[in-house]
């Protein structure tokens, strides 16, 4: 569950978040739309402590964050439960695909290598990259990289997944493979275990920042629109599939 209360954030003289109040129930998927500079990414980054905020409070995955600097220990524990996927993937270029996925479980959680690798191979299979486990990031296409990044974010059995424009940096023809993985992750979050989703993630709460309106309407339980640092609308998606993909992409 995520609860955002009175969240405010300024960068110098610029007010980026002007008092955001919102809540996401456990297991729900929320898509966050809004023009560039509306504060979507900043809100997302506040949720896992990559940015501090000036006022308000956050509750996420059982942790509470207040304004100002966070305690390092709290952040580490929180981030083990809150996965993040970046627009630019940020795979570790010196590690193989498999090691990218197993790094956090092994290093931060102390999971044995064999166990971490078995789980990582399962996740890689679910994002369709089982045979690329030993490849280096530079040998992958952008779409493949983002699929690895998703597997990496899920590897610690997270309760919340934050996706920051996961398809924006990709060429249009590579976006569909990532959308397909996102659909599976969403099904895994909604459905009971044992179905076709990316298991084991029932009850996974997802916050998806995107410019792709169609994707938002397809996956989300609720769609928030952010403008000038405030949530200006909350709507249930139009599941007819007839959504114009009109919001310009790019940052």
């Amino acid at each position: 569950m995520i609860r955002i209360t009175g969240l405010q954030k300024t960068f110098g003289a610029t007010r980026v978040l002007g008092g955001v109040d919102a809540e996401v129930a456990e297991g729900k998927i929320v898509a966050l739309l809004g023009a560039s500079g509306s504060g979507k990414s900043t809100l997302l980054r506040c949720l896992n402590g990559l940015e501090t905020f000036d006022a308000g409070s956050l509750e996420i995955a059982g942790f509470s964050l207040g304004p100002g600097a966070h305690e390092q220990r709290t952040l580490q524990a929180l981030r083990a439960k809150v996965g993040m996927v970046f627009q630019e993937f940020h795979l570790f270029s010196h590690l193989s695909v498999l090691d990218n996925v197993t790094l956090a479980p092994r290093v931060a959680q102390g999971v044995a290598r064999a166990e971490a690798e078995a789980h990582a191979r399962q996740l890689l299979a679910q994002v369709g990259l089982a045979e690329r486990a030993n490849a280096r990031p530079r040998e992958l296409s952008g779409g493949q990289k983002q699929r690895v990044a998703i597997a990496r974010a899920l590897a610690q059995g997270v309760r919340v997944l934050l996706l920051d424009e996961p398809t924006s940096a990709l060429d249009p023809e590579l976006r569909e493979e990532v959308r397909e993985v996102l659909r599976r992750v969403a099904r895994g979050a909604h459905d009971a275990p044992g179905r076709a989703g990316v298991a084991p993630s029932p009850g996974l709460t997802i916050l998806l920042v995107t410019h792709e309106r169609a994707l938002a309407h397809e996956l989300a339980d609720e769609i928030w629109t952010l403008s000038a640092g405030k949530i200006v609308s909350r709507a249930t998606p139009n599941k007819t599939g007839n959504v114009p993909n009109a919001v310009p992409s790019g940052d």
Binding site: L50, A80, F86, H90, F92, H94, L103, V107, A108, A149
Partner: protein
């Protein structure tokens, strides 16, 4: 030159008081008993004396090159020099004086076997010590051996009484054996081909001695003593010696197997010092770089100050300070001081290299790693450093090769590594070409494989 109305004479100001040195009260003016002798000699010859500064160890090669006409700088009369140069009659008789720590029982040359004894390079004392199988520590200046003796780094110092009296015997911790362990004389060195000038110099010296002028000069410098009674007898012996066939033209001596073996030992020491120093510089440099990019303001300031001070001052100076300057606080052995000095200095350079490499990593790498729940240390160890080390690799190899060559500086703290060995052998063999080439070949043999290894590693990282 003589024909131009000048007597060009060579010496080394670093030889210090009372030989030839800069006047403490008038910087730029050189004084000393040898300056006075040169002036009197020139006057006797009807010309003007002109001093040429030259590194003492290389006075003879410079004379042979024709940089000046004669050497007048504590040059001792030895059979080796006699066969290479035309030596004048003596102008001073000295005694080899042994200085030891108070309480030491060492008194005679025979007792010095196996003991570590300090002296200056290319002196009679060095030959004496080597003949008696002492462990010889070679110094560049007169004061350093006595400082090391005070601190117990050597068991004794054997040098001319002129040096011992001024620099050693007055120290409260030291005792100078009153009997001379040997006697010898200072002579003027000339090129064997300059027989006419040599004869005139001898005649002029004789005149100065006969008129009591030399005694006047030596008395002025408080150097006249009973030893000087030998000036005449030694002079006669010198003349008799010269009756024998004139020395053959300067000839090179082939390098002996023992000398080549010493070269390889020097190279081994160079490698040992360089590897250990870099083994210290690398992790310490990485630590400094990490501190400068991650720590709080106070620690960051200290790390920055360290880097700036150590980069901004000569490593030679740092070696002096570490070995001599701090010797009353920490008494490091020469090799330890060499490794520590070079390592601490190079750490400052490595710190900059790694700071640059860390800054070159995309910001997202650290963000992605910490958003996975890794601690700051884990982020550094598993994500940032493995990547920055690869970026730093070319600069790192470059620095190691530079260190390999900079390690020759540690000869100032009595370490005989490859370059020092080369200069010693070159003087012994009267040849700079072959020892120089051998030395260069050994350095190249050490550095070239490294740069090959580095470019191989770079290619490997790029392709993987």
């Amino acid at each position: 030159m003589y024909a131009r109305g000048e007597l060009d004479w060579g010496g080394d100001l670093q030889g210090g008081e009372p030989y030839v040195y800069e006047s403490p009260s008038e910087p730029g003016v050189i004084v000393g008993f040898e300056v006075d002798i040169a002036r009197a000699l020139a006057k006797e010859l009807g010309v003007r004396a002109k001093f040429h500064q030259n590194d003492w160890s290389n006075l003879i090669p410079s004379l042979e090159r024709g940089d000046f006409d004669l050497i007048l700088n504590g040059l001792e009369d030895t059979p080796a020099r006699r066969s290479r140069l035309r030596l004048s009659r003596p102008y001073f008789v000295y005694g080899e004086t042994l200085a030891v720590q108070k309480g030491s029982s060492l008194r005679t040359l025979d007792e010095l076997t196996g003991h570590r004894i300090g002296t200056l390079n290319q002196t009679v004392a060095q030959d004496l010590l080597q003949t008696h199988h002492a462990d010889v520590a070679l110094y560049e200046g007169q004061q350093e051996p006595y400082m090391d003796l005070v601190h117990g780094r050597v068991d004794g110092v054997l040098l001319d009484h002129v040096i011992a009296d001024r620099y050693g015997c007055s120290l409260p911790q030291l005792y100078c054996v009153p009997q001379d362990l040997a006697r010898g004389s200072y002579v003027i060195g000339l090129r064997p081909s300059d027989t006419e000038l040599a004869d005139r110099v001898d005649a002029a010296l004789s005149a100065l001695i006969a008129r009591g002028e030399l005694r006047g000069i030596l008395e002025h410098w408080k150097l006249w003593d009973a030893r000087q009674d030998e000036l005449e007898t030694r002079s006669a012996a010198n003349a008799a010696e010269r009756e024998r066939p004139a020395p053959a033209a300067i000839s090179k001596r082939p390098l002996t197997g023992a000398q080549i073996a010493l070269f390889f030992r020097g190279a081994l020491l160079t490698v040992l010092i360089s590897v250990c120093a870099f083994g210290l510089a690398l992790p310490f440099g990485v630590l400094l770089a990490v501190v400068r990019s991650h720590a709080g303001p106070v620690v960051r300031f200290l790390a920055t100050a360290y880097v700036e001070v150590l980069r901004g001052t000569p490593v030679l100076l740092q070696l002096y300070v570490l070995y001599y300057g701090l010797s009353s606080v920490v008494r490091l052995g020469p090799i330890t001081a060499a490794i520590l000095g070079l390592g601490l200095n190079y750490a400052a350079y490595e710190a900059e290299v790694h700071r640059g490499a860390l800054a070159a990593l995309p910001r997202g790498q650290a963000e992605a790693a910490s958003s996975l729940g890794l601690s700051r240390l884990q982020v550094l160890r598993h994500v940032l450093l493995p990547q920055s080390l690869r970026i730093a690799l070319p600069a790192l190899t470059n620095d190691f090769v530079a260190l390999l060559k900079d390690s020759s500086l540690v000869s100032v703290i009595t370490v005989v590594e490859l370059t020092k060995r080369m200069t010693i052998v070159a003087v012994e063999a009267r040849d700079w070409v072959l020892p120089g080439l051998l030395c260069a070949a050994l350095y190249f043999a050490m550095s070239f494989p490294l740069s090959r290894l580095s470019s191989w590693l770079e290619r490997r990282y790029q392709s993987s």
